[in-house]
């Protein structure tokens, strides 16, 4: 069992499982929180995640295949997706590639939202670019089901913030490309509403000057 990612919420281990290379996602107990709260958070997230990963596939968004779920131990065994994190790729490709990648990401987010799926942690660490050009969305641990405007806005607000904090060099044009891709999936009208919602969320944040 090789630890490949020590996340804040869960750790990912690379394993051999029935001759397959798999990822075991373990939600280890957090020593900082009391057992009651800890168990509640871990088991809820472990049950919830495979459900929503399946729903994402129905929406036409690539996600890892789930092989096993163990709620008592709070772990999930799933496909190991070969590829690179978008976080590592985005600042190291040509402008054209970057924009088309962002548009693709936007289209996929649009598909999720069309199907009432809110990812909940849309950072570029949670998107894997495969060698055949697909973006596989991983880590649905904080996802929720909703068709409301508010969570869609919060979802994309995080995407925007990730671009501005981690990929700040080209944040503006990258975000624009994401939203263009998003509009392709959800339609211009809905995209406009969500964009307005994102602005509203930004202003709601504390101490935001009315920019533009």
């Amino acid at each position: 069992m090789v630890l490949i990612k020590k996340g804040a919420e869960a750790s990912l281990y690379l394993e051999e499982w029935h001759d397959r290379k798999v990822i075991m996602k373990r939600r280890l107990p957090k020593k900082y929180r009391i057992p009651e709260l800890d168990l509640m958070i871990r088991s809820q997230r472990t049950m919830h995640e495979p459900h929503i990963i399946h729903k994402a596939k129905e929406a036409g968004v690539p996600t890892p295949t789930i092989f096993m779920v163990n709620v008592a131990e709070a772990n999930i065994i799933m496909e190991f997706v070969e590829g690179k994190q978008v976080k590592e790729v985005l600042d190291n490709v040509s402008k054209e590639e970057r924009l088309s990648l962002c548009a693709l990401i936007g289209r996929m987010i649009g598909r999720l939202h069309n199907h009432g799926i809110i990812h909940g942690d849309l950072t570029t660490s949670n998107m894997i670019l495969t060698s055949y050009g697909k973006v596989v969305f991983v880590d649905f641990g904080l996802s929720e089901r909703s068709i409301e405007l508010e969570p869609k806005g919060v979802d994309l607000h995080l995407m925007k913030r990730t671009l501005h904090s981690t990929h700040y060099k080209h944040a503006k044009e990258s975000y624009k490309a994401v939203m263009e891709g998003y509009a392709e999936s959800v339609g211009a009208e809905e995209a406009k509403k969500v964009t307005a919602k994102i602005r509203e969320i930004e202003k709601r944040g504390r101490y935001v000057a009315d920019r533009e």
Binding site: I34, L158, R161, R206, Y207, A209
Partner: protein, 342 residues
Amino acid sequence: MPTNNSADSYCLGIESTADDFGVAVVSFEGKVLSNANDAYMPKEGGIHPREAARHHAEVSEKVLTEAFDKAGIKPRDICLVAFSQGPGLGPCLRTGATAARALASYLDVPLVGVNHCVGHIEIGKLATGATDPVTLYVSGGNTIVSAFEAGRYRIFGETLDIAMGNCLDVFARAVGLQQRKGAPFGAVVEELARKGKQFVSLPYTVKGMDLSFSGLLTASVQAFQSGKYSLEDVCFSLQEVAFSMLTEVTERALAHTQKPEVLLTGGVAANKKLQSMLAVIAEEHDARFCVVPLRLAADNGAMIAWAGILAYQSGISTPVEKSFVNVKWRLEEVYAPWVEGK
């Protein structure tokens, strides 16, 4: 004119963002010579901005005098005046800014406007020796997880509605607790929470990297009002849930940035329970855990003076005609050339 980086160059810092009026004298090499303060205590309810501003104006002379006396220097020894320019309550900020402008003009020294959030981070770094931390800044008005990247303190997560300290304050008032001088509501809740045993299920709201406390506040008040749970148990559960949320988001930022330190700063940093939870994640990620000392945790003039010195030494000052306050000045809008990335 000031000579840079010298022990006999002094900055006067004025803090008046919210309920505290603070004045401090700090030397250019980072020694806090005095840190005087007078807090506005509302008879009931929260801070009334105009009343707080009136309080600040009334105590300004007393607090200024105290700052000079304790530092053992004369006004003429000051070579820089720093003031909190925002974010905060407009009337309160303007009172401090007016005093700062008057002093700078009278003494004929440069003026520098400081971002309040930067002040909390920089004083935490100065006091603990942290150089490049993930910072959890929690107070009555702010809840921000940030880290320095490319010239600025970037915000990784923050509250989507009310601040952590605000949540504790409003809860405490709603359940009929009283604050005392030297024991703010947060301390009163912490005291009661230590006696709590039974965990009451309350909403845990983390959205990506952001947090929401308003639902938790409402549910906590309702849990107490239902009569089913003791106040101690509700305080205990409120703290457990809220601080677990803060710790989860801070850990996320730490895992993402892989910074070498975790810094806890702001008024709520005084909470021992929160300190102990953050210490756990810092250790797990091989980061050093730093917590701002109690005397510099809440709003104070020293943090403004120190952040002012850092800005001034990297060539930043604020001409009087540009010294208007900015009540919505976001942390990440501040260019911070004095910080080195590594």
